[in-house]
């Protein structure tokens, strides 16, 4: 028999501030879109209200990862003001708590939007009544992509255990950090140094952010603490996708160590996703593995990843 419960004023669980998360990686075909879709799905399953945004303006296909047809209205329609309200391009995915803003596959010009337009888009997306906005970034290190990454509260960097992907991952980190440092540069001289660092073959011999600091130290020592502070606040989180053995998974720790020692960047290892036949079989059927086969190893790992990212946890290197 049920006893009468004491009267309790229901208190809504304190929701953290609305957050923007982005999934980048610098290279195509490494699973950014699938990871975005699966992560969004798991976050929604954990009770968060999530909006996925396909920010891969040139190669949008996030809808396909979710098993949806290309929607009639996309982010491109909002960017070039064919529709006025961001809500007009928001579609349901069939998963409770998970909605989608599709990419601009129909609009070539959207791939080169101006900074002011980006700011407008982001502000409008941020105004949505949600918990997490999850951006699927395109491949490469163009300003479009990096600016989205830089304004995110959580920047996820996807790599696969292959030299090409890791090379692009480091390039992504450097490009993003230099862009951030340039914006923070207190003087024209420092800005010029950052600009020359963007050229890998620069005459100053700057190859890493640490080299950059050393050059700034000579030119304008007062600027160094400021740049250091910016570097300290830049905190990319690695996810290794398509892991085939424990050695692949261990690479995450090496990446974090290498970033700290050789780039001066404080990265974290958020987690990994195994290479899983289920994943591509589901892609072929245009179904999301995380919902179609919820118990497959990759779905489970993405669930762990979602939990860890929500808690701000990462995989620690212990001896």
């Amino acid at each position: 028999m049920m006893e009468a419960l004491p009267a309790v004023v229901p208190v809504a669980a304190a929701r953290p501030r609305r957050q923007v998360w982005s999934v980048g990686g610098g290279k195509g075909g490494i699973g950014k879109s699938l990871l975005t879709a699966a992560l969004g799905f798991q976050l929604a399953r954990l009770g968060r209200r999530v909006v996925l945004v396909d920010a891969d303006l040139g190669g949008a296909n996030l809808h396909t990862c979710l098993g949806l047809a290309g929607p009639a209205l996309t982010l491109g329609d909002f960017i070039c003001r064919r529709v006025e309200r961001i809500e007009d391009v928001l579609v349901e995915t069939g998963v409770s708590g998970l909605r989608l803003i599709s990419g601009a596959s129909d609009f070539l010009g959207a791939a080169n939007i101006k900074y002011a337009q980006k700011v407008r888009v982001l502000n409008r997306i941020r105004s949505l009544e949600v918990d997490i906005i999850l951006l699927d970034l395109g491949a490469g290190t163009s300003f479009n992509i990096i600016d989205f990454f830089l304004v995110s509260d959580v920047g996820i960097l996807t790599v696969v255990p292959e030299p090409t992907s890791i090379e692009n991952g480091y390039r992504f980190i450097k490009s993003a950090l230099y862009r951030r440092l340039r914006a923070a540069a207190p003087s024209q001289a420092v800005r010029a140094i950052v600009d020359s660092a963007l050229d890998q073959k620069n005459p100053l011999g700057i190859r890493t952010p640490l080299d950059l600091l050393a050059v700034v130290e000579r030119a304008d020592p007062a600027a160094v603490p400021l740049l250091r502070k910016e570097m300290g606040a830049f905190h990319p989180r690695f996810v290794i996708n398509q892991v085939r053995d424990p050695a692949d998974a261990a690479i995450g720790h090496q990446l974090v160590t290498a970033c700290a020692r050789h780039l001066g960047v404080k990265a974290a290892y958020a987690g990994y996703v195994p290479f899983d036949d289920t994943v591509w079989r589901c892609v072929r059927q245009r179904r999301l593995f995380a919902s179609a086969v919820p118990d497959c190893p990759s779905a489970q790992k993405v669930r762990e990843l979602a939990r860890g990212l929500l808690q701000g946890e990462s995989l620690a290197l212990t001896w």
Partner: protein, 201 residues
């Protein structure tokens, strides 16, 4: 030429000054892997020459930290511990931060340590110990070597034993605590081990 890997030996291996020998070993292996020829984590970040220099810096740090005596001297030179004669050398790092506690008081020793004839294996050591009525716990207490390792020594579980430099130290401690001649006992036991593969090759 700028150092590829700056910092002291501990920083180079990415450990703190209280790391146990096992942790030194694991961190070393991690670094070897990371700066190894087939590493993809370092690819595009360091060129071949820098990678080689990083590797030799790791090796240099390891050579010192793996050896209890050299590690102690290094710790003293860096001001990590106060200078106490490293006899016996601390086979395991102490749990607390610097300075390390003073070595335990010397164990009472029988006047003439016995020299064993012929090959010495775990069973021989165990027999000697039991004849003298000494428990592993007692040896562990005197030497600060974990009972687990003493058991591995007696069981000839060579694959579980630490690197030879440590093992030699452990064996000498064991011998001393059991009334055996330390150096020759350790040599006799060590001579039965397969050559320890050099992980840098």
């Amino acid at each position: 030429m700028v150092a590829v890997l700056g910092g002291n030996h501990y920083e180079v291996l990415g450990i703190d000054a209280r790391a146990t020998p096992e942790q030194v070993e694991r961190a070393y292996r991690f670094c070897l892997e990371m700066y190894g020829d087939s590493s993809i984590a370092i690819y595009s970040l360091l060129d071949a020459d820098e990678q080689r220099r990083a590797r030799s810096r790791v090796q240099e740090a390891y050579e010192v930290l793996r050896d209890p005596f050299r590690r102690h001297d290094y710790d003293v030179s860096q001001g990590f511990v106060r200078a106490t004669p490293p006899m016996p050398a601390p086979p395991r790092a102490a749990a607390g931060p610097v300075p390390l506690p003073a070595p335990p008081p010397p164990a009472p020793r029988p006047p003439a340590p016995q020299v064993l004839e012929g090959p010495v294996d775990g069973a021989t050591l165990r027999r000697c110990r039991e004849e003298r009525g000494i428990s592993l716990k007692e040896i562990a207490g005197r030497t600060k070597i974990g009972v687990r390792y003493l058991e591995y020594i007696e069981a000839d579980r060579h694959e579980l034993l630490p690197a030879p430099v440590y093992l030699r130290g452990f064996l000498q401690e064991y011998a001393r605590a059991t009334g055996l001649e330390p150096r020759r006992t350790a040599d006799a036991y060590m001579s039965r081990l397969r050559r320890h593969p050099d992980p840098t090759r």
